[in-house]
Amino acid sequence: MKRILALVQSEAFAVCLFVAAIILCSAPFMITANIMEHLWFMNWYLFAVWGLLIAGIFLMTGGSREGDGSQE
């Protein structure tokens, strides 16, 4: 558990999350040329991605847990 936590709170995880975010946010344009045709779906898809990113960040930072805050 500690290992997983350390991994999630590492800088490498942050970079991975960032790259994942770029890919996930670009995905709609890989799926369809006219995004407006799927506006409703795309909107909630992006919200889902957004939610995942927030969850990832929450895990990465350990929420508001007090500590030294290091990500080593």
Binding site: F18, M36, M42, V49, M60, T61, S64, R65, D68, G69
Partner: protein, 912 residues
Amino acid sequence: MNNAFFSSTMIVFLYIAVLFAIAIWIERRAARGKNFGDNAWVYSLTLAVYCTAWTYYGSVGKAVVSGVLYLPIYLGPTMAIILWWTVLRKFIRVKKQYHTTSIADFISVRYDKSQSVAALATVIALVGSLPYIALQLKAIISTFDIIAFSRGGHTHVVPQIAQSAGVGSIVVVCLILFTILFGVRKLDPTERHQGMMGVLAVTAIVKLLAFVGVGFFVVYFTHFRGFADIAARLQATPVASLIGAGNMEQVTYVKWVSYFILAISAIMFLPRQFHVLVIENSSEKHIRTAMWVFPLYMLILNVFVLPIAVGGILGGHPTTEADSFVLTLPLAHGNYWLALFAFIGGLSAAGGMVIINTMTVATMVSNHLLLPLFGSGKLFDLFRRNLLYLRWIIVAGYISLGYWFECKIGGSYMLVNIGMISFAAALQFAPAIIGGVFWKRANRQGALWGLGGGFLAWFYTLLFPSFVKSGWFPASIITDGPGGISWLNPQSLFGIIALDPLSHGVFWSMVVNIGLYVVMSLYYPQQIREKRIAESFTDTLARDINSEKHGHRTAYIDTAQKKKVARTLLARYFSDSHVNTMVDDYFFQSGLAGKEKISIVELAELSAKIEKTLAGALGAAVAYKAVSESELFSAEESEELSQAYSQIVSNLKIAPEELRAKIDYYQEKESLINRHARELETKIRELEENILQRKRAEEELRQIQLGLEQRVQERTLELTKLNDNLRQHIAERKSVEQALRFSEERFRIAAQKASDFIYEWDISSGKLEWFGSIDEKLGYSQGEFPRTIDAWEKAMYPDDRQQVMAKLKLHLEKRSLYQQEYRMMRKDGSLAFWTDSGTALWDENNKAYKMIGVCTDITANKLAEQELQNKLLELEKFHKFAVDRELKMVELKSKIKEMSAQAGDGTPRKAL
């Protein structure tokens, strides 16, 4: 004017008053050490200043014409936030180290504390944000028009009544007052704007609740019965067909990416964002909370954007008014109060942005444009010493200018599109800042060229075309290029036509900015000092190194002289009393208090402290220039400092990675300890202050008491002594007086009743004082008998005079016994018998100077004696006669007996 106008006006003013009250309350708490701003949630909410009126109202508008293109504005920041722990933490550490006050200050510090870099960054921030301020004011005023004059569902016509009613002016005055009161009220280097941050947090909650409230209303209380219902209706009638192909904005991947890039940079590099993120941050740990709270805030805020947009379109509202759907939808369905609440949310969004942005710009303009312009000449002393008032003027001028801008060009294309254009302006800071904290080689020349080139490219490709589209310049410039030169077309520079205007501008400004930044940084060498700063930025921890080697340097620099220089330097910007306290604090904090000589390293520390303080008030560039131009370091001292630094670096002998790891560890540790220490220090300081005050008061009281006691004791002692003396004196005097009285009494009685006369003869003067009734005794009237020795001698019976005077002379000369009996002649010539017994007093020369004696009148005794003699004589005569008679009788008897015997019978006769 109607009821809606008055009710909305009253509620707006009430809301502003509540915000004022909150700000004052927080500031007062902060003054008592209760730090409201030192809270991760407050910090996270203040970041919502990112969501301005442009996003609050504009997101729905954007969703109507561009679909999901509104999302990158918020999703982009969320992506940037993923890297905050690495990036933002560096910014904050650098801010703490160099006490930077703004984004321009931050950049200038990194690039050799260059005033040119700071000035350029300030100009970019100023130009980029002024139209944005105008946009916020426009949003406040136009939405007030809707809310105050469109009650009853007439929402499609938006009259410009508020403008003419002077609402704009009132809004401007309120914003100016608020900014001055809580943003630039003080010129304190350690100041953080607690009140303003608290208000920002409150407004963030208000705008979130308002927007979500409208969203709920649209989704559940209008024509729709929830999200599914909207989705179903949208499927039946696609948005594109409702809006019409002509009004739809084409969303390409390039545009999508451009929006992301702009939003990623805007969340950190918009001057107001940088301010709340970095400058107002009180603890690195707050970043971690903000990293998930702020994206969550944005997510919640945006959940209802598309439903509101779709609701507006499906409800038949014109797409041209999509920006005001947030207000017009509740109004159209008769919910005025919800619309008013939504307006308050929009007001919060716009007001917060204006206040923070103005405060930041005012600081930058005063520190990086005006102060360097004033230079160090005495001519501008007035401005330098009144820097605070100067900032107030800038605040008032800046907001007023924004309002003027809004009045003049409120409806132009430029203003409507300024949101993304402003984001693109903020993007120009990105290479210089990101490169500054990650790339050691980056230098001042690179930053200057990069910022300058990027700014020009931004101006030419983004701002200038908006001027053209606003009709201020010929439209042919963006169709055929300036002067018909197509490759200079600002929207298709060098023939690039594949990009939309925004992406085109972003592309070129970044190419120019990054290109020049890298090339110039590589081309120009770094100065040693700049290299040192670059290392401290990229490593962020090298700052503690200096403190290691203090002991190796000789203390030879005259402290008094440096103190004087420091005072002179600070006195140019602060009041004299403040300066003295500051300088004393520096010396105390550096442990230099009481030292007559200091080492070069200690002087460097002192210089850094002064510069840091000045930087807090004036910005790093001006502070650096002021310290550099002062006489704090002589040429020799500068040389020695350079050597000392080299020695320190070489002495470390440690791999950079290892050093970084160690420093990281210790800095984290130090950070924690420092925080605890600060808290403790604050408490201790308060306690010490209390104790000190109490001690002072006690000491004063004690001193007063001691003084009083001493005075009382002294006084008592004096009085006691005096009293004793007096008592003794009185006793003595009484005793003497009594003795004297008794003596006098006795003497008087003795002298009067007895026959004695006491005399005192002053031999030199011949005066003879008599005590007793001498006049009466000698038959004179009172005081008639002369009191001289001659009178006494003259009154003496002449037969006795010679003998008495001889005896007296003998006594005076030979000290023989003087005791005489002589006769005195009364006035009537009768004689009085006196005995005289006296003794003289002799001086050191054995000369008699006084004689005291007593005379006794023995006349009565003498007379009695004489009478007794006479009686004795008479008795003797009688005795003799008696004896003779007896003898005669015996003879007679004998004769008778003989005769009887001779006569006869022999029997004697009895009768005989």
